[in-house]
Symmetry: C2
């Protein structure tokens, strides 16, 4: 068996589970630092394969393929948190896997995640487990009659979620989800949505980016702006929460923590919505807007290399190009200073993230709405 | 036969001749814009292959391989100017090649290049063709007794060059070069070496980066600083010269023009040393130091897309990592804000360009030597 804590040197190969745009941008960041990438994913034709030295197209349950993959790479990471736990455990016996499988265990299941957060003293929305339709009524009552039903596992971009305002609607949604284990969350009357994105190295070093602010449309991230329009003390607390979570998981890599900012009686309160144990869409602004991109930072962390500067280059606005918004690519290229990123996806579909564009403004720029 | 002027769209494939670090960084820039790369080069194991969708390892004279390559890509470019003219002509009949073969013809041979420049009204060092040893003595006499003997073709990083101060030394150097056609150039008493790097699109649009200043060690570029410490009027003239050359070649892509700055009786005079019809080492600072990197700019130009902003982000210092200087990679990663690039070359050799590091300072930074 391979040594479990090898020194990663330039020329080494990073194994990446998942072949979407996050895997692609990780591979590009690795290449910049002289690293090779080997992408492992179940479906051919995904964008990360186009920039990798080696590709494995195989199921996450294919132990023979996983064993060969682990043999051929120096460190393994992943672009999404729904890697089967058994896959991560199987690989971790053969090769370093960062973030470690514990991070998957705590973040794949909304119930486990919320309990983990509360045990750390981190506030979440109120929640109740829903294992049967009978549990819906009492939960709704405790949340003043409305809540969000969410499957415990495999949700993203609003999939597996439904706002419910009465027991009948809840029962219907629960059935439509296939009666899989779910939770109901209280609705949080938030003023803003923000992300705290940071990286932790194997030596416990931690560096956070400036807190950014997110806007969603149809449950999909639409825009991220950095810095978030929150108090400095709130931003400090947000970064501290991300660090507390990363420390508790003995985490290695980039972690993103989505939070709600609530204008409470005592000022801005923070409610953690979700942990992403990976690079995150709301961190794409760092490619053009920070000294070290989240992708390079992740590569540095999982390689045991020093973390890079998170200094921000100005005021940043990152817009996702979703579905046919990507057809504006030529117009965006014409726009002075706009930084266009296209993910190389072969098929355009509604709701699919096809690229993003980042605009960097000098600090102090006055925006069209009069703010600065 | 393929349409010769196709509209390049995201998802298209760029064919790149040459698989070194320039090809690699072109492929990475293309990937960011949703383009695929197909690398063609004679030797396997070169760094650009690691980030390409397709690879062809074949000789530049292999017409069957070239024809297949041209069939499989949408536009062809190259990372170095010593592509055989016949190769470029063969490909250009099958697929758009940018820059066009005319640029190779005018820049592969130092004698042709200098005559081309002089015809454009661009000053060069004095020169004399050397086709036989007998020509050396008279040429030296006309250049006050010393000059630089250079082979007309295939020189780079000081290879095929010798400073000569008498006929005997000249004859010996000419013999050591195999008596291939050469020139003698007068020695230019320059104050600085600079590069003008710009890009020209198929529509004649042209955008130059700020002029940068180069330092060499052992005939290899060691450091580039931007902006060059020259007068604004000199910088304007340098950019204008690059544009004049590009226009004369009906050039498409990034072009780099190396120049000497001479402190003459009438102020700063510009003497063009060499044209590189490609992205250039002295433009690497643009990756971290400009709004659009020279690699993205080249990709935009050859794709017929709008050229990007060349705005500079601050004062920039780019240092090449040559030979075992690359062993300092971990130390550089520890340095706050230093941007490290490693080329993924499998073998370290003396004089080999292994990577570079770019440092971006806020304009107005006071340097250690007291300048700003």
């Amino acid at each position: 068996m391979k040594k479990l804590d090898p020194a990663i040197e330039p020329g080494a190969t990073i194994g990446i589970l998942g072949a979407g745009q996050l895997g692609r941008m990780l591979a590009l960041a690795g290449a910049r630092l002289g690293l090779k990438s080997h992408i492992y994913a179940p479906d051919a034709g995904e964008p990360a394969f186009d920039v990798a030295v080696r590709s494995t197209v195989a199921a996450y349950e294919d132990e023979a393929a996983l064993a060969r993959f682990a043999e051929n790479v120096d460190v393994i990471t992943y672009e999404f948190e729904n890697i089967p736990a058994a896959t991560a455990a199987f690989l971790a016996q053969r090769c370093p896997v960062h973030p470690a499988p514990l991070a998957l265990e705590k973040t794949q299941d909304r119930l486990i995640e919320k309990r983990f957060l509360n045990e750390l003293g981190v506030a979440t929305a109120g929640f109740a487990p829903i294992d049967s339709a009978e549990a819906i009524g009492p939960a709704l009552t405790s949340f003043s009659g409305s809540g969000i039903l969410k499957t415990r596992r495999f949700g993203y971009d609003g999939k597996g979620q439904a706002m419910i305002r009465d027991t009948a609607a809840g029962t219907e949604a629960f059935a439509s989800f296939g009666e899989v284990p779910a939770i109901i969350e209280a609705v949080v009357p938030f003023a803003r949505e923000i992300s705290a994105i940071g990286a932790r190295g194997p030596d416990g070093s931690f560096r956070a980016y400036d807190i950014c602010e997110n806007s969603h449309a149809n449950h999909i991230l639409s825009r991220t702006e950095a810095p978030a329009r929150i108090k400095a003390s709130t931003a400090e607390r947000a970064a501290e929460i991300a660090k507390r979570i990363a420390d508790a998981l003995d985490y290695v890599g980039v972690i993103a923590v989505e939070m709600f900012v609530v204008d409470g009686a005592k000022g801005e309160e923070l409610i953690v919505n979700e942990i992403a144990p990976r690079v995150h869409n709301s961190g794409h602004w760092t490619i053009d807007g920070a000294a070290t991109s989240q992708f390079e930072q992740h590569v540095r962390a999982i390689s045991g290399w020093p973390l890079g500067s998170t200094a921000r280059r100005g005021r940043i606005v990152m817009d996702n190009l979703i579905g046919d918004e990507v057809c504006r690519w030529r117009e965006i290229l014409q726009e002075e200073g706009a930084c266009l990123h296209l993910y190389g996806k072969s098929e355009l579909r509604d709701g699919r993230k096809m690229g993003h564009v980042t605009r960097v403004y000098a600090d102090g720029t006055i925006y069209a709405d009069g703010t600065n």
